[in-house]
């Protein structure tokens, strides 16, 4: 069973996720950022389900393993759609919403197809392997998409502070998890340090989003000069 530190971090994480939903509701931004909030609601639901199964069956049980990785996959798909919402907001002035939707569906289908073609090589536990690998691949697609979006924000001189905060925090979160994963692979002996760190990093995103919804009004603007130096 996990230690008290893991439980405390997990509890803080759930509270931060609930805070995002509450802040978005209080600031009346539910409709505007619906898919982001849906992602947070999905996280809360999966965390509650995970806790219930963990308490009943234990960390190494098949029930917890399957529920953990299948729910992770579903929530990562929610995150992927949440990211597409951010794209829609950034490109809203270009009337490119239909293209963003088309790109989102194509990318999801392409990632699923690629994952299946790789996983189909091994016949053992095909569905489970597919679900886990799809989640991993979507994660890396999300990482690249976030950096591309940040480039677009700089290029288009986006000034909406809340939107910038949402995108930047997502970029930092993706980068932290990817760096942690790479270090764990390079130095497996350090896993005891870096595996618990994933839980700490997981609290960063809901915390940053809760701050963005609570403290930054929709009308707040940043001057472009504070984002990037553009030569004249």
């Amino acid at each position: 069973m996990p230690g008290p530190f893991a439980y405390i971090i997990w509890l803080v994480n759930i509270l931060c996720e609930i805070a995002v939903v509450v802040c978005a509701f209080r600031k009346e931004t539910l409709r505007r950022y619906f898919l982001l909030i849906l992602y947070m609601v999905g996280l809360v639901a999966s965390d509650i389900g995970r806790y219930k199964i963990l308490a009943e069956y234990g960390l190494s049980s098949k029930q917890y393993q399957y529920f953990y990785y299948y729910s992770d996959s579903v929530v990562t798909i929610f995150l992927f759609f949440a990211l597409s919402t951010l794209y829609s907001h950034v490109f809203s002035e270009l009337n490119a919403e239909s293209y963003v939707k088309m790109g989102t569906v194509l990318l999801l289908a392409g990632t699923a197809l690629f994952t299946y073609s790789v996983v189909a090589q091994s016949s053992a536990k095909l569905v489970t392997n597919f679900v886990i690998q799809l989640s991993q691949n979507l994660y890396f697609v999300g990482l690249v998409l976030t950096y591309v979006l940040w480039g677009a924000i700089l290029k288009l001189r986006e000034t909406r502070t809340r939107l910038i905060q949402l995108v930047l925090s997502l970029g930092v979160y993706f980068s932290l998890i990817a760096a942690n994963y790479a270090i764990r692979n390079l130095y497996p002996s350090l896993s005891t340090v870096f595996v618990p760190l994933v839980q700490v990093f997981a609290t960063f995103l809901p915390l940053a989003w809760a701050y963005a919804f609570w403290r930054l009004p929709e009308e707040a603007r940043l001057s472009p000069a504070r984002l990037a130096v553009i030569p004249r």
Partner: protein, 71 residues
């Protein structure tokens, strides 16, 4: 039509970039799975039977050229 083709091209570029990045990051992976969503403690992956440490892959031992895969 050309805008739709640009979207398709961008999608393919992102997919190639993401999978390239994944290959780079998981170059030394031995079955580790990245836990991304939520703060719950991660269990071992279900498709890894048993808790024994993974042995080195057979095709890395020695300097002989690798044979074609049986399938």
């Amino acid at each position: 039509m050309s805008k739709k083709l640009v979207v398709v091209l961008l999608v393919m570029l992102v997919l190639v970039g993401a999978m390239g990045l994944k290959t780079l990051v998981t170059a030394h992976a031995d079955g580790l799975v990245m836990m991304a969503a939520g703060g719950a403690p991660a269990p071992p992956t279900p498709y890894k039977a048993g808790g024994a440490p993974a042995p080195p892959t057979p095709y890395r031992a020695g300097g002989a050229p690798a044979p074609p895969t049986p399938y």
